[in-house]
Amino acid sequence: MAHEHAALQHHFDDMDQQLEASTLGMWAFLITEVLFFGGLFAGYLIYRTKFPEAFDLGSHELDIKFGAINTAVLIGSSLTMVLAVYFAQLGQRMKIVFFLFATLVLGGTFLGIKAVEYSHKIHDGLLPGPGFTFDSPIADQVRIFFSFYFAMTGLHAFHMIIGAGLLSWLMYNAWQGKYDSSYNTPVELVGLYWHFVDIVWIFLFPLLYLIGRN
């Protein structure tokens, strides 16, 4: 160990070990996240199997435009995120900050569109609960569709909000010049998280909006 990096924690031997450990830790965390959402997906799948008509009715209530635009926005934010990581690896401070900011803006756009969608649905009385109204003989089953819609997209949005917090923190640190080509682990880890959240949406979009559309 000829030279020790300032960001090296005491219990690691070198930066490589620290980076590998952190990355592996993030992946282990993402495994957990897969199964956290997985519990909801399992429920969704079972009810979709039991009540196909109701779930088709439910997805007709969703606005495919909002869903598609949001998918594109989120994919865009994944691109800007990966570019932030790219420039972090090259150690270009201002570009890191710029692309993190772009990611944050796109993430905010997603949440904004989601909020508009939510308010439409709530206004239409589609929020499950005592106030739920839907004109159909199988309204109860449609209500279950919306329970899943709100639980799954809500949990997803919650992850986006946490991601936004992490991005702001990264931007501050990047601005301070903490990341360079030899140390940029946090940018990479938040990147993994952000892409994971993107993947969840990649599945939510067809499951909630598209299947049973025709």
């Binding site: 008509e53 003989p137 199988i138 109860d140 089953q141």
Partner: protein, 310 residues
């Protein structure tokens, strides 16, 4: 009901002895392995007691043959047990064709039982010996579990659907009836007794009780009371399909699918009429949710089942 101290439950159904044989086999296997392990540990512990602080024994890192031996033997034994247990379990799902149908409704915290002949009982079940009995069960609220230890039968009663079980009692006497699935405050008081009688005594009991109408007769009254008959009549231009002879038959739905008319379908059609509409009819039937309880549903079902074509 034996009130004294017991170490083994009574066997009062055809299934009981069969389950117990398997149980004894498991005990024998378990005893063999426990005794083997305890004996070996005891022998090794005494024989190889450390004699001095400095003693270091020979090192034996393992032996593949032994590992294979003690993996394969337990595995094979387990497979025997699996096949044996699975066969019996499958039997409990296949009631004989001549089984008498009883209806059970669980609610916090009592069992409501109806005989095919119309007798109703609370927390008591009278059955004859030598006659397969099939219970069709529903619940008004949470999950309950119908459990008769002396018969070695148990099945959960799940809200929103029917479950069923069957048994054939062999020995007259009184036996416990328990709710085995935790269902709230008075869970431990949701129990009763099963009275097994000789067939002749059972007939006496049936005729001696309060005047009871057969289930389908009560069901018919309910059917008229709820005005079901105004639409469901055996006429070509009726608003609802005729129910004569439909039970057990397939029916085409509007969406092209076919379902078999069974308890579950009848139940759903009463509570949620427009979910699966028979082909050729309009969704005009109102829901009867809230106007009819699980007991009533079973009565109407019994009535519909009794409507056979001449």
């Amino acid at each position: 009901m034996n009130k004294g101290f017991q170490l083994f439950p009574e066997q009062a159904s055809t299934l009981a002895a069969q389950v117990d044989y398997l149980y004894f086999f498991l005990i024998a296997v378990s005893l063999f392995f426990s005794v083997l392990i305890f004996f070996l540990i005891y022998v090794f512990a005494v024989r190889y007691r450390r004699k001095s602080e400095q003693e270091v024994p020979e090192q034996i890192p393992g032996l593949l043959k032994l590992e294979i031996l003690w993996s394969v033997i337990p595995f094979l034994l387990c497979m025997v047990v699996f096949v044996w247990g699975a066969t019996l379990y499958f039997d409990t799902y296949s009631p004989p064709k001549d089984a008498l149908e009883y209806y059970v409704v669980g609610k916090q915290w009592m069992w409501h039982i109806q005989h095919p002949t119309g007798q109703r009982e609370i927390n008591e079940l009278h059955v004859p010996t030598g006659q397969p009995i099939k219970l069709t069960m529903a619940t008004e609220d949470v999950i309950h579990s119908f459990y008769i230890p002396a018969f070695r039968v148990k099945r959960d009663v799940v809200p929103g659907r029917y479950t069923s079980m069957w048994f054939e009692a062999t020995k007259p006497g009184e036996y416990h009836l328990f709710c085995a699935e935790y269902c709230g405050t008075k869970h431990s008081q949701m129990r009763g007794r099963v009275v097994v009688m000789e067939p002749a005594d059972y007939q006496n009991w049936l005729s001696g009780g309060v005047a009871n109408e057969p289930l389908e007769v009560i069901g018919e009254k309910k059917f008229r009371q709820l005005a079901c008959h105004t639409c469901h009549v055996d006429k070509p231009d009726a608003r609802g399909p005729s129910l004569v002879g439909v039970f057990g038959e397939p029916v085409r739905l509007q969406n092209g699918q076919t379902v078999t008319v069974d308890e579950t379908y009848i139940r759903e059609s009463i509570l949620n009429p427009n979910a699966k509409i028979a082909a050729g009819y309009r969704p005009v039937m109102p829901t009867f949710k809230g106007q009819i309880d699980e007991v009533g549903l079973l009565q109407i079902t019994a009535y519909i089942k009794s409507l056979t074509k001449e």
